[in-house]
């Protein structure tokens, strides 16, 4: 580990809970003392199943969800539960790409207006903003004419590229990617992942890459953290965590994901059943 690089983002003992459903129901503890860090230009892959809290970490870092306790530090400054004004300044450095390409773009706004939004929010003039939009569209390999069209005229993969362009508009230092390829077709997944890697190599942006898919995560992440029921149970280099995990749960995730070679898959399946057996489901 290179000591001269301070982490760009540090999360220390973060805990988040949500109010329970119903009258006087106990609070729902979603994150429990979560700690992680991301260095400039690094991708940290965050892997977990549904209900693990992985999306909540992303939302807490972005300020969309309040933190109960713990700290989130960005470039040395504490940002958890920051004021609206502070968050506004942070927007220049921290952006987001969501999972669903169909609802992450306002269907009644043109692509140009959507891309213009973060620029206008930070006080850029319209003229410069328009020039920037043309640049952004080039970068994500969409035609310049796309600026005048509505999202519904584009496919899922293209919309996701528009979302990437929006995230890049302010040249952020960190982008939280919340399952950005999970809703895409296989072939489209590949192109979008390649695009994200290329952008990182060109601009040195860091990613918090949230996903449920270990194989996708290891492809793009330098380091991988595994989250289970609100706790980080394993963290380390991508190769190590996704090939020689220490925790049984990580191993279970690994073995459960099927591979495309039928013979190899049979072996994996047998290993899975040997180690984890067939448990009847309780809940």
């Amino acid at each position: 580990m290179n000591l001269e690089s301070e982490p760009l983002l540090r999360v220390d003992d973060l805990s988040v809970s949500f109010p329970g459903r119903g009258f006087r129901a106990p609070r729902n503890q979603v994150l429990r003392d979560v700690s992680l860090s991301i260095r400039p230009g690094e991708t940290l892959g965050l892997v977990g199943e549904s209900g693990s809290g992985k999306t909540t970490i992303g939302r807490a870092v972005l300020g969309l969800v309040p933190a109960d306790s713990g700290t989130i530090t960005f470039e040395g400054a504490e940002i958890q539960n920051a004021s609206r004004r502070d968050r506004r300044r942070l927007s220049r450095d921290m952006q987001v790409i969501f999972q669903d390409p169909y609802t992450s773009l306002n269907p009644s706004m043109t692509v140009g207006d959507t891309l213009m939004e973060p620029l206008l929010a930070q006080g850029e003039g319209r003229h410069r903003a328009s020039a920037r939009i043309a640049d952004l569209l080039d970068r994500v390999r969409l035609p310049r004419g796309a600026a005048g069209r509505l999202p519904r005229e584009f496919s899922g993969g293209q919309r996701q590229r528009i979302a990437i362009a929006r995230a890049l508009a302010l040249a952020p230092k960190l982008i939280v990617c919340d399952e950005p390829v999970s809703a895409l077709d296989l072939t489209t997944q590949e192109t979008v992942l390649e695009l994200l890697i290329e952008i990182q190599q060109a601009t040195d942006v860091a990613y918090l890459f949230i996903s449920h898919d270990l194989t996708v995560v290891r492809h793009i992440s330098h380091r991988v953290a595994v989250i289970y029921r609100g706790e980080i149970i394993e963290q380390g280099d991508a190769a190590q965590v996704t090939e020689r995990p220490e925790q049984a749960y990580t191993r279970k995730l690994l073995l459960a994901a099927p591979v495309v070679d039928p013979a190899a898959q049979r072996a994996r399946r047998e290993a899975f059943e040997r180690e984890f057996g067939r448990t009847a489901v309780v809940r």
């Binding site: 199943e49 927007s91 952006q95 067939r278 489901v281």
Partner: protein, 605 residues
């Protein structure tokens, strides 16, 4: 994943199955004759009423007693009323008061209801709870009683009563706006706007108000109609401001003197009826125009059905009869969809597929390839507007296309269906046990139908077979009380309950976690191994195919591109498309190298 740099080409635009109409209210309106007429009538009425001083030469209260009840005369085209006043003048000025009153009520309601709804929907919290309570309170008061009580307290002035009415009606706007805002507030694009640093008021202005606009406009038209009706009603029963002319008051006088001059009822009645009807028709016209997606699909007429059937029959006779799978055999299947406007769209262009008994066959393709449509056709559950345009489907050797519906249904009893989304495929109003045992108590494939106790025993056995730890508890639970993974197992049990020979599963594990997916795939495999049930599984996941299937068929753009043994097809595909698909799966050997700080890489370069 290949290492060579592939320039991503622009993907073809996905054709939306339902073209969403542009949200322009005006455009939607002009295209519907009924709503357009209503709008024109309304505009005319308003114009006429506003120009009352120009059109009516006499004042509404100028009375010439000797003219009472006289019919039309020059200068008085509508005659005189019970006190000798000019009917036309009273009609026009009355319109001003009636419509004006409604406008006042509307304005009050809008000013109170819309901003509070906006705030409550966007910010939630204590304001939401408090205003929700107040709204419930106001909505439980009958408007008429309150207006009467107000009259007692505030006096009989129409304007004042209309302000009270505005308060009473405001909750309907509050609820409407709050609902629309709350729905949009959690959309991802609003989150993205917040992350961009957009202040709240700008988020509301850019993203939220546009959604709220149309429902509010519709509600305005409806509420205006109600306000006019209520006000006229009050006037009609004699509550009101004495001499001020209104349509309601005119109706009151005319009704009381019906025997002497029945015609006096007509003018205010028509005016009131026309205005009210125009408002309501306008409102439902706008609503229908915006809801265009739910417009009636053009129904297949009897003649069309016959032509289609004839075409299919002639095609079928040309289909090779040999070599067809014993369990399921599809030949030349074509599926098409009716559109609200324009020609029908074909989505499956001639598909052949076979499943042998006890075989697991995978049907793989990307979204829009037509794989689910193929499965739905076999099951007979194509969605509204879809139909089989050609081809033959044999289930255990028996045809199910173009036969009597009851025969087809009987033949389809050899099939079981496992759907994609676990939760939405369970009836929320019945317990798991109840909805699973119901089909068994109606009929059984082998033997007589089961009694209640027998059915329960069988369902419990099935729930155990899909590896549910406590079948009794799940039997008695409602769908909202169990998890998604458990629900999917319940659905598999449900598919099994009718003792099928073939299970057709449509993306059964796509909505599940990978560990749960492994377990569910295991269940399906064991079902085949232990009971000899065949499986047709539709998926976009090649790993699932590798894990489960004996044979696989690849679909693209409504056609089968390649088919064969799983191992051969996945490891050495022959077709380009298949190769691209397999290549798109993230290569298990490739992993990102550990992170290097920027300076270090620059040095190396």
């Amino acid at each position: 994943m290949t290492q060579q740099a592939t320039v991503p080409t622009e993907e073809p635009r996905v054709a939306d199955a339902a073209a969403v109409k542009a949200p322009s209210v005006l455009g939607a309106l002009l295209s519907r004759p009924l709503a357009l007429t209503a709008a024109i009538v309304l505009v005319l009425i308003v114009l006429v009423v506003v120009c009352a001083p120009l059109l009516a030469p006499f004042g509404p209260n100028d009375a010439i007693p000797k003219n009472a009840f006289q019919g039309p005369q020059p200068g008085h085209p509508l005659g005189f009323d019970t006190a000798g006043r000019d009917v036309l003048a009273r009609l026009l000025y009355g319109g001003q008061n009636t419509l004006g009153g409604a406008v006042i009520a509307l304005l009050v309601a809008l000013v109170i209801g819309v901003p509070t709804g906006l705030l409550a929907g966007y910010y939630g919290g204590w304001f939401d709870s408090a205003s929700g309570w107040v709204t419930n309170f106001v909505m439980s008061l009958p408007a008429m009683i309150v207006l009467l009580a107000s009259r007692a307290v505030l006096g009989p002035t129409v304007w004042v009563l209309m302000i009270v009415l505005g308060f009473l009606v405001a909750p309907s706007f509050y609820r409407l706006v709050r609902g629309a805002v709350a729905a949009v507030r959690n959309e991802l694009y609003v989150d993205a706007a917040r992350v961009s640093g957009l202040p709240d008021w700008r988020i509301i202005g850019r993203h939220i108000l546009t959604v709220v606009r149309a429902p509010v406009i519709i509600q305005i038209a409806l509420v205006a109609g109600i306000a006019i009706g209520l006000q006229a009603g009050l006037e009609f029963i004699g509550i009101g401001s004495g001499n001020t002319p209104t349509w309601g008051a005119m109706l009151n006088e005319a009704f009381n003197n019906f025997n002497r001059a029945p015609l006096l009822l007509v003018w205010p009645g028509v005016a009131l009826g026309l205005t009210s009807a125009a408002l309501v028709l306008l409102a439902s016209g706008i609503r229908d125009a915006l809801d265009d997606r739910s417009g009636e699909m053009r129904r297949v007429t009897r003649r069309e059905r016959a032509t289609l059937a004839a075409g299919r029959a002639s095609e079928r006779s040309a289909i090779a009869g040999d070599g067809r799978g014993a369990l399921l055999s599809i030949r030349g299947l074509k599926v098409a969809y009716r559109k609200p406007t324009g020609p029908d769209v074909e989505v499956v262009h001639g598909v052949d597929l076979d499943v042998a008994p006890g075989q697991i066959v995978g049907l793989v393709g990307e979204s829009g390839s037509g794989k689910s449509q193929t499965a739905f056709s076999a099951l007979g559950i194509l969605p509204e507007g879809g139909y089989v345009a050609g081809g033959s489907i044999l289930i255990q050797g028996e045809e199910v296309i173009d036969v009597e519906p009851s025969t087809a249904a009987a033949r389809r009893r050899a099939l079981g269906y496992v759907p994609q989304e676990p939760m939405s495929n369970l009836d929320p109003s019945f317990t798991i046990g109840s909805q699973l045992s119901e089909p068994l108590r109606v009929r059984s494939r082998r033997g007589p139908r089961l009694t209640k106790a027998q059915a329960k025993a069988r369902v419990l056995e099935l729930l155990a077979a899909v590896e549910i730890a406590d079948p009794e508890r799940v039997y008695a639970s409602y769908p909202h009380e169990i998890s998604g993974g458990m629900a999917q197992r319940v659905l598999i049990a449900g598919a099994l309950s009718t003792d099928p020979d073939l299970i057709i599963a449509d993306e059964p594990t796509t909505a599940l976690d990978v560990t749960v997916q492994a377990e569910v795939l295991g269940i399906l495999r064991r079902l085949r191994d232990e009971r000899g049930v065949g499986v047709l599984i539709v998926t976009h996941n090649l790993g699932v195919i590798a894990d489960l299937c004996d044979r696989v068929a690849v679909m693209n753009d409504g056609r089968i591109v390649e088919r064969g043994e799983t191992e051969t097809l996945l490891l050495s595909p022959t077709e380009d498309y298949t190769r691209r698909l397999v290549a798109a799966v993230p290569d298990a050997d490739v992993v990102r190298e550990p992170w290097q700080p920027r300076a270090a890489t620059k040095e190396i370069a």
